[in-house]
Amino acid sequence: MIQKDKLFYGSGLPYLKMDKLPGYLIVIEGADGSGRSTQINMLKDWLESRGHAVLDTGLKRSTLVGGTIDEAKKGNLLGRTTLSLLYATDFGDRLENNIIPALEAGFIVLADRYIFTLMARDMVRGARRAWLKEMFGFALIPDIVFYLQVSPDVLLHRAFMQYGHLDYWESGMDLGISPDMFKSFKQYQSMLKDQFDNLAQEYGFIIMDGSMDIETVQQRLREEILERIDL
């Protein structure tokens, strides 16, 4: 079982009075097409059938600035620091208004991506690691962080299968790596993967091979959860 000696990665939320939270926070990180949402849905079913209350939450689902982010991305209107801070705002909103209240109420929170996706994207775009680390010091330390690792080649085919085309942002076209979307996608995804691999070491992710079949991945996730959390 895990024992956490602190609640937050950094300076936390000093104005909140919190001791121990009765719930559990389980994070699943991974690129688009790594199978995150499928796995989360299956975990939710499993946990609920065992009688646990579950909240699933993803990035960019808050009502605070979600709309602003969508609007800005459509026109590519915002600078990188601005966009980075808007995503951080959005994350903060979800953390304080959804995740923490649910954990206080004893829920198991399944987070479809967390601060690490935001950090990886920003670092690929030149943000300073130290700046990001300090900023996201207000984030709760999850009980488990899973990382569904999938090679850019597999992601490419999954994107074609699922959407029929490559997404502008998921191809990192804003970086100007190459006007060729295929090339840009592959390079951008491999840059992201490098960042994730670094973060995995630093933050102790449990790495899962996301190219395995769905049931096998699910089985492994459940085993890891049972091993680490006293459910």
Binding site: T68, A88, W131
Partner: protein
């Protein structure tokens, strides 16, 4: 041309412009002073770019919506204002400094430090957030006793907005009383950082003319080796932010 080294998103940058900013509690008279400084600079032929706190369009909508619903926590309040500032910084302030302009800012990152720390976020955390922004050429702090500032504000108007009055801090249920207490905390923050941040302190209770004289004398020295932007105005498109 004097270049300053700054860090922004991991890149060391230099710029030839000048950044002059004013800070102070509400009712300290800083906006009047920065306006008079702007007039004076323009009369001397300088092209000046003026910017205010909380004025970028895109983020403004989100900020307004969020404030109306009172759904902001100290952390999200801090972050959304940082995003708003970053938007102005990345699109307006930084490019103008880089192009060699004099940029005048009515409030800068110190406003965020003071307000956010007053709301209870970690001081080192908020300073880190704003570390992408350059240190100004000069920061003028208009120092007034809280009563002076508050009475100047309350005299002119009736309703104080929720966050403006610092109602979210739970200091008092009476908006005017809350405003006064909130401004007191902000003033303490400014006073505490004045030394460390190298503020030029101007006594905001002095006659307006005298304050302006002090400010102009200091700015004159700062501009001695500054090379103004040479640009043919007759062919220019005048956009928002540039007067005349």
């Amino acid at each position: 041309m004097a270049m300053r080294k700054v860090k922004e998103l991991g890149i060391n940058k230099t710029y030839p412009g000048k950044l002059l900013i004013v800070e102070g509690i509400d009712g300290s008279g800083k906006s009047t002073q920065v306006y008079l400084l702007k007039r004076w600079l323009e009369e001397h032929g300088y092209t000046v770019f003026f910017t205010e706190w909380n004025s970028s369009d895109l983020v403004k909508d989100a900020t307004r919506k969020a404030k109306k619903k009172n759904m902001l926590t100290p952390t999200t309040f801090s972050l959304i204002h940082a995003a708003d500032f970053a938007d102005r910084y990345e699109r307006l302030i930084w490019p103008h400094l880089k192009a060699g302009y004099i940029v005048l800012a009515d409030r800068y990152i110190y406003t965020a430090y003071a307000r956010d720390i007053a709301r209870g976020v970690d001081p080192a955390w908020v300073r880190n957030i704003y570390s992408f922004a350059v240190k100004p050429t000069a920061a003028f702090y208009f120092q007034v006793p809280v009563d002076v500032g508050v009475s100047r504000i309350l005299r002119g108007r009736t309703a104080l907005k929720y966050h403006e009055a610092g109602m979210d801090l739970g200091l008092s249920n009476d908006p005017a009383e809350s405003f006064k207490l909130f401004q007191g905390i902000i003033k303490d923050q400014y006073d505490a950082m004045a030394d460390k941040e190298g503020f030029h302190i101007i006594d905001g209770t002095l006659p307006i003319e005298e304050q302006q004289q002090q400010m102009r004398a200091m700015v004159e020295v700062m501009l001695r080796r500054y090379k103004p932007v040479i640009y043919n105005r007759s062919s220019a498109n005048h956009e928002e932010g540039y007067e005349k």
